[in-house]
Subunit: 445 residues, 2 copies
């Protein structure tokens, strides 16, 4: 649904709720797809959200909560009476229900769990962090036994009548619950009824450990072109399934996080979220940047007499530092992204450094010669031009080193390599850019 | 497979090929999963790749080519004799075969198409660009008719024996090929055999037009939590299906592209790709950045007499421009990412500008006061401190405006909003930062 349409429907929904016409509000919601429903509900005040979600069928409320952002879903779930919340949670996919329960205050979560009809699927999931394989998987899947026939397997499927998409891959487990193999539902459907499952299943199953990071799950799944990925414990017991649609969202969220972190925005921030949040998420790294800039300008301060002797130097300083910052950010972006996609690891320090230094030497020389020529035409002083060219090349090498070593050092310390990389890299290129340019110039003067 | 293991196997594979022991090389490859096979083959020289791929079973070579990067696959495909290439293409998924054919020289592609057994599935796909719904979809799917029964549908599935994952959602079409509805294979399997398809199918199908960008496909699919997405033409004829696993890769590639473009790296660049490519992809925007920096430093040049009168001004200039650049990049990142995720559109200019200006006012004031205090302690001159504080606030407002308006203007002109946003934003914050600081200082002096 287009944004404009949504806005119109939202206005109508708000009017219905203002007039306490819950039946009309319910009818408006029921006519939409769940993602549109969630967008609408997100636009309401919390009391209106609670009124609406307690009035809808629990299965519809479940759809809406599943589609809402985690923190929004938890905020409204907290206001819904425990008995009604339990009915809704019973209708949700177990991984989504676990996310909501995990974000609730402990006593409210315990109360809701007590009221739930089927808490057993959800409880084990509460152990796993949201951003790991365990937090993403669903346990509501049908598993097969190797000694069954295709006919028995189909009968079991009909008996259970699974509603989840995760049943398109059927996983075969031993009596002890070990993951033995996988069969696509399409193979099951097209095989003769008497074929033993053991004969039909593929045994070289790609699986992920339950504790693995969500980014790695997305990588494994897209690498192999599967639609679902089985999750196992440390000895190989089958625990659940992650489906591809969840991992598209994971990929988007992880990329957003990296992009934000690189420029010094901590955590999530929505384009139209509260201003207070935006200020608090951005200010800390701006303050860090003040400190790094202060270090850089003490270099200029040290050369004050040189600048006093030739003010033209002050004019060209930003050219050296600005270019170095840009080149350093190019390198840091390639490295941070390469680490995130699993292409670059700690073993590759020397290899990447070697490559980036060579790129920097060429680009620094080209830019350095160009800038020197411009400076010469402008100020007609060969000393500024020579200082400019040499400082540019040296600062490009600094940029390459900082762009490679800062993200990889953060990774080595188990800190996100993207974290404020841009702030740190430019602090190096500013400081050394000023040092090289003013230092060489003072030697020549 | 871990990188270390892959390296060992690669060495073994190379030895086999050196000794012309193709049977051994074939055995090494056949023991692996396709993604690992592709990684190994990518590590060989082109002649070795050709020798190996012409010696493997066509279905194995097809798996390898499907997993390789598009340009690498095309480079090796070009060297394989047309008859053998056609055998391999026949075994590939039609969207992947179309990608390879699209990247081949026209005469080689035509020759291969002539030799193919089933070129009819592939030919229509050649019309669509790689990065649209049409370029991602497969046409090799089973469609159902509304008047069939569940039993007939299952019989048809058994008759066709589809090998692709895209058959987990079965799309229902009219005799004229219009998309009418969808049934999950699991619903088909668990329904009584006599149920009419028309009764079982969901009719509110989410579909995408064939010309739509791949990013939008990923968004539609993850928003609705589906594993496959039907593609239709402008009047609603069913054309094919996109599966979720392809869209995870799309999401990764689009995010990488945006991150690269923001810092002025054009097109794709691999961490360990050729140095020449890295230089050429990064240099153009560095040159543009030279020009934008030259504009910024003409401002300093205009204030040369002011700086000559008070060299301390030269010391504090980078603090104003550097902070403005950082704040501007924070805003630009939020806007570029918001546009990419479909959260911000052209209609939101005023709303985003309003929000970002308010964030800038607060952060600019905090940073401005802090910087002014530091400057006062350091240089004991209230004029520098006042100029610093006012210039900082004004430059934060400039940063917010540039960060919002540059990406949205690019979008308005149908240019990628990420394109060198960082370079453009900092050119504004540099220029105006110098202008505000030196201008206010010269008024006070």
């Amino acid at each position: 649904m287009m944004q404009e349409e949504l806005n119109l429907v939202l206005a109508e929904l708000r009017r219905s709720l203002e007039n306490n016409n819950l039946a009309q509000a319910k009818a408006i919601i029921e006519a939409l797809h769940p993602p549109d429903q969630a967008d609408l509900v997100a636009g309401l005040t919390t009391p209106d959200q609670v009124a609406l979600l307690t009035h809808l069928e629990p299965s519809d409320s479940a759809d809406v909560l599943e589609e809402m952002e985690d923190d929004e879903a938890a905020a409204v779930a907290e206001m819904i009476p425990a008995a009604q919340l339990a009915d809704i949670l019973d209708e949700m996919e177990d991984d989504e229900a676990a996310d909501v329960l995990g974000d609730l205050p402990a006593d409210k979560a315990a109360e809701a769990l007590r009221e739930m009809e089927e808490p057993t699927d959800v409880i084990p999931l509460l152990r796993y962090p949201d951003d790991t394989a365990g937090g993403l998987m669903t346990q509501a899947v049908v598993t097969l036994r190797p000694h069954w026939t295709v006919g028995q397997a189909l009968a079991e499927l009909r008996r259970v009548g699974p509603r989840a998409d995760s049943t398109y891959y059927l996983f075969v487990t031993s009596d002890a619950g070990m993951l033995l193999g996988v069969i696509g539902l399409r193979n099951l459907v097209t095989a003769p009824a008497k074929t033993p499952i053991a004969e039909l299943m593929a045994t070289d199953v790609i699986s992920v450990p339950v504790t693995v990071d969500q980014e790695e799950c997305a990588r494994a799944l897209s690498r192999h072109g599967y639609l679902a990925l089985p999750v196992v414990d440390e000895v190989g017991h089958f625990l659940g399934v992650i489906t591809a649609d969840d991992l598209i969202e994971v990929t988007e969220i992880e990329a957003t996080e990296d992009m934000y972190r690189m420029v010094g925005i901590t955590g999530e921030e929505r384009a139209f979220g509260p201003i207070r949040i935006s200020i608090l998420k951005r200010l800390p790294w701006l303050l860090v940047n003040v400190v790094t800039l202060l270090i850089a300008i003490t270099v200029i301060d040290a050369f004050e007499p040189v600048i006093a002797g030739m003010v033209a130097l002050a004019i060209f300083m930003p050219l050296v530092s600005g270019q170095g910052g840009n080149a350093g950010n190019q390198t840091a972006t390639v490295i941070v992204r390469g680490i995130a996609l699993g292409e670059i690891g700690l073993r590759d320090v020397l290899r990447t450094l070697n490559k980036e230094l060579r790129v920097a030497l060429v680009n620094g020389t080209v830019i350095g010669l160009g800038a020197a020529a411009v400076a010469y035409v402008w100020k007609d002083d060969w000393r500024i031009s020579v200082a400019m060219c040499l400082a540019m090349i040296l600062n490009f090498m600094t940029a390459a080193s900082a762009g490679v070593l800062i993200p990889l050092s953060l990774k080595k310390m188990n800190i996100d390599p993207a974290l404020a990389s841009s702030v740190f890299v430019t602090s190096f290129t500013d400081t050394f850019g000023f040092l090289f340019f003013l230092g060489i110039a003072s030697l020549l003067l």
